[in-house]
Symmetry: C2
Subunit: 419 residues, 2 copies
C-alpha cells in the first residue's frame, strides 16, 4: 500500500505550526509496513485542496488527511473530499447526540449551530469517534483508493490514528504486520549498519532497517504473517541476533526513551533520583519530569549555572572549582555527589560543560563531563560533543540518562570509549 498524507491548514503554510502529525503518522505507518511516499500540505482553500486530492488519488492507494474537520467556515476537508469522491455528507445522529452532550458538559465553550457541522460525514463511511476532542474522523474506500480523515490537533490526530485507523488498516491487509523497535545508544547509525549489513541485505521477511534519531539509533524489525502470533515469532530471533551483535548498546526493545526506561526500573526498585545541572540548565529535570508518574522517582535538583551556586546549593568546595575549573572531571563528580546528598536521593546525576557558542579559553566548545553518584561510588564520562548549543545540551542530557540506565541494568557505567 502506497500512502500520501495530505495535511490541510493555512497555519502550516504560514509556518505558525510545524507538521508533527505527518511525522507521527509516518512513523506508525512504517511500523505497519505501509509505504509513505508523499506528504502534501495545502491551506484552507477548496480549489487547491481539490487539486491536491486529484493528484493524490492518481499516485496513492491510501490518502490520509489531517485537519479541517472542525466547526468553522474554513474547515472544509470533509466537503471537498466528499465532492472529489462523489459522496454526499449525511448527519450522523450518534455523533450529533455526542456533540450536544459534550457542549452541555463543557459550559465554558459556547454551543453554536456550526458545531453540528462536525456530525456530518460522507455516506457509507466508517466513523472514527473522537474521544480526545469533538470532531469525528472517518474512513471509506472509493475505486480502489482508501481515504482516512483525521482531525488536525496532534492530541486528537495521533490517538485517533492509533485507536481507530490502525485496526481499520489492519483489517484491509490479508497479512498481519508485526514490528519491534530496537533502541540503541552509544553507537552511530553507519557503524550499526556496517555491523548488520549482511542481515539487512539478505532478509526479505522479516526486514531490518535502521533510523538515526538525535544521538540514538533505532532498528525496526518488521514481519508479515497470517497471524500476529506468527509474525511476532518471526521477529523474535532477529531481535535476539541484533542484541547479540550490538551488545549492551541496545538499551531496550519497544521502550520509548532512555529516561522512560530508567523511570520504570527505578519505580519498580523504589529508587529516587536527583540532578545537578550546569550546561543543561534544567533539561535533565525537564525531560525526566515530562514523563507522567515522574514524581514517584524524581525528588529534585539544582541548576548551578555559576560557581557560587555550586558551592551554595551543593556544598562544593570553591577551592576545587578554582583548582580544577568548573568544566572538569572532579567538579562533575562533586556535583553528582553533592546533589544526591542535598536532595536526599539514591542517585545523583550531573552535567557540566560548554554548550557554546562561546568557549572558556581552555576547552573546546562541546567538552562535557557527565556524572552519576550513588551512596558508594561516583562515575564520570568525558565527552566531546561538537558544536550547536541545543544539540550539545540534548546530547549531554541523553548521556546522563544512558549512564543511569546502564547503572540500573548492572552494566559498565563508563565504557572504555568515554573514559
Amino acid at each position: 500500500m502506497n500512502c500520501e498524507i495530505l495535511s490541510v491548514g493555512t497555519e502550516l503554510l504560514l509556518g505558525n505550526t510545524v507538521n508533527t502529525d505527518a511525522a507521527e503518522l509516518s512513523d506508525r505507518l512504517a511500523g505497519l509496513g505501509i509505504n509513505v511516499f508523499w506528504h502534501t500540505v495545502v491551506g484552507d482553500n477548496p480549489k487547491r485542496l481539490a487539486e491536491a486530492v486529484a493528484i493524490a488519488r492518481k499516485r496513492a492507494d491510501l490518502i490520509i488527511t489531517t485537519g479541517g474537520l472542525g466547526p468553522t467556515y474554513d474547515d472544509l476537508t470533509k466537503n471537498v473530499l466528499a465532492e472529489c469522491f462523489g459522496r454526499k455528507l449525511e448527519l450522523h445522529p450518534e455523533e450529533a447526540e455526542f456533540l450536544k452532550a459534550w457542549f452541555a458538559k463543557n459550559a465554558s465553550t459556547k454551543y453554536t449551530d456550526n458545531n453540528l457541522q462536525q456530525a456530518y460525514l460522507p455516506e457509507n463511511c466508517t466513523v472514527f469517534h473522537n474521544d480526545w476532542g469533538t470532531a469525528p474522523g472517518c474512513a471509506f474506500e472509493e475505486q480502489g483508493v482508501h481515504v482516512i480523515m483525521l482531525p488536525g490537533p496532534p492530541r486528537e490526530c495521533v490517538p485517533m490514528f492509533e485507536v481507530c485507523a490502525v485496526p481499520y488498516l489492519k483489517g484491509l491487509a490479508a497479512d498481519v504486520i508485526f514490528s519491534h523497535q530496537i533502541k540503541v545508544f552509544g553507537i552511530g547509525e553507519s557503524a550499526a549498519e556496517s555491523m548488520l549489513r549482511s542481515e539487512m541485505e539478505r532478509m526479505q521477511n522479516p526486514t531490518l532497517a535502521t533510523y538515526a534519531k538525535f544521538g540514538e539509533v533505532m532498528l525496526r524489525v518488521t514481519a508479515k504473517a497470517p497471524t500476529e502470533w506468527a509474525a511476532e515469532a518471526m521477529c523474535r530471533p532477529v531481535t535476539e541476533h541484533v542484541r547479540d551483535i550490538l551488545g549492551d548498546k541496545v538499551y531496550g526493545v519497544d521502550v520509548p526513551s532512555l529516561e522512560a526506561l530508567a523511570l520504570d526500573i527505578m519505580r519498580e526498585k523504589g529508587l529516587t533520583l536527583s540532578a545537578a545541572e550546569s550546561l543543561t540548565g534544567g533539561l535533565i529535570g525537564e525531560r525526566f519530569t515530562a514523563l507522567p508518574g515522574a514524581s514517584a522517582v524524581f525528588k529534585g535538583g539544582a541548576v548551578t549555572y555559576c560557581d557560587e551556586v555550586k558551592a551554595a546549593l551543593l556544598g562544593i568546595d570553591p577551592a576545587l572549582i578554582a583548582d580544577k575549573g568548573a568544566v572538569s572531571f572532579e567538579v562533575a563528580a562533586a556535583m553528582a555527589r553533592g546533589v544526591r546528598k542535598a536532595v536526599g536521593a539514591d542517585v545523583g546525576l550531573s552535567a557540566t560543560g560548554l554548550a557554546g557558542p562561546d568557549g572558556d579559553g581552555v576547552h573546546p566548545v562541546g567538552t562535557v563531563f557527565v556524572g552519576l553518584a550513588d551512596k558508594d561510588a561516583v562515575y564520570v564520562r568525558q565527552l566531546h560533543l561538537g558544536s550547536g548549543r541545543a544539540r550539545v545540551r540534548q546530547l549531554a542530557a541523553s548521556h546522563a540518562f544512558d549512564m543511569l540506565r546502564r547503572y540500573l541494568q548492572g552494566l559498565d557505567i563508563v565504557p572504555e570509549q568515554y573514559s
Copy 2:
C-alpha cells in the same frame, strides 16, 4: 509570487525527522509577502522527485527545495532539478577549494572523492556559500520559475535562507516588503482579532494579520513600497495603533520571545535571575539557558519536585507546606523568595501546580501558582491552565517569563485577570 516548498528526504517520510525547515521558511516567506501555497515532501527517489518538480513548476513561480545536497549517493536534488530544468551541473572551483580546506581542518571527518560532488552546481546559477556546513545551495531562474535549493539540516537551511536567499528574493521584487512582528501575551487570538477587526478588514497596504502561537499571539504588519524606508514608515503608525489598542499585553515588537526580551533587559541593567521549579521540573531554567549569553544573567535554581527538597534547598518551613499545601499561593511566594536568597540573585521566579494527568484530590489539574520575588516584595499569579501535561508546563513557564518582563518594564506584575 506563489511559492512551493519541496522537501527531499526519506527520513521525513519515515517520521524520523519533523519538517521544521518548511515551517521556518514559511514563517520568513510570509514576512517577505510571498504566498506559500504548498509544502511537498518526497523521498530520496529520482522518479518521484522529478514528478513532484513537474507538478510544482506548473502551479508555483518559486520552488524552494530543502535537503539532498550532500555527498552521498542518495543526495540527488541537484541532479534531478538540473535535469528537469535542462541545465548541466558544473564544478565550482571556489566551492571545491573550500571543501578541500574544510576537510583538511576537520581532521575527524574523512575526505572522500564523493565530497567533491557538493561543489557541482547547475550552470549559470547564483551560488549560496554554506558557512554553516559543507554543501552549498544555489538559485536560478528558468522560464519564469525561480528555483532555490537549500541544504536539509535546519542549522544550515535557516541561516542560508536568511543570509543568501532573502537578499536574492528581495532583488527580484520591484517593491520592497517590510514587516513588523508585534508580540502579545495574556490575550487570546480571537479576542485580539475582535479588538482589531475593523483595521484588519479595512487595510490593504500595510496589511495586519494575527497568528496564534502556543499561549501567545503574534500580529504581523506588512507594507510594500519602493524603498525599505517608505515601507517601514507605512508600518510604524499601524504598529503604534495596535499598541494603543492592546496596551501592555504587547510585550515587544520584533523580539523573539518573552525570555529573550527579559535576558536583554536584565543584562543591560546588570540584574541576575534564579528559578525554583516544581511542576515545570527545570523547564524555566532550560528555556532561559537555551539563549546564548544566558550565563551573564541566570545564576541557577532549584528543581523541587517533592516537599522535603523545598525545605532542604530553599529553606521553606515544612509547616507552611503542611498547612497550605504544596500547590498554593503561599508556597509559590516562599519558593520565589527562597531561591533568590539561596542563589544570591536579584530576582527569583517560581512555579508550583498540577500538570496532570493525575490530580492531588484538592485542585483540578491545570491549577498553577507562579511567583516572582525581588528584595522588596513577592508577587504571585493564580492560573487555571486546563489539561495536557506538556501544554500546562509550557504555559506555566511562559507566565513566569511574562511576570518577569512586566516587572522589568515597570508594569503591574499581577494584572486583575490573574489575581
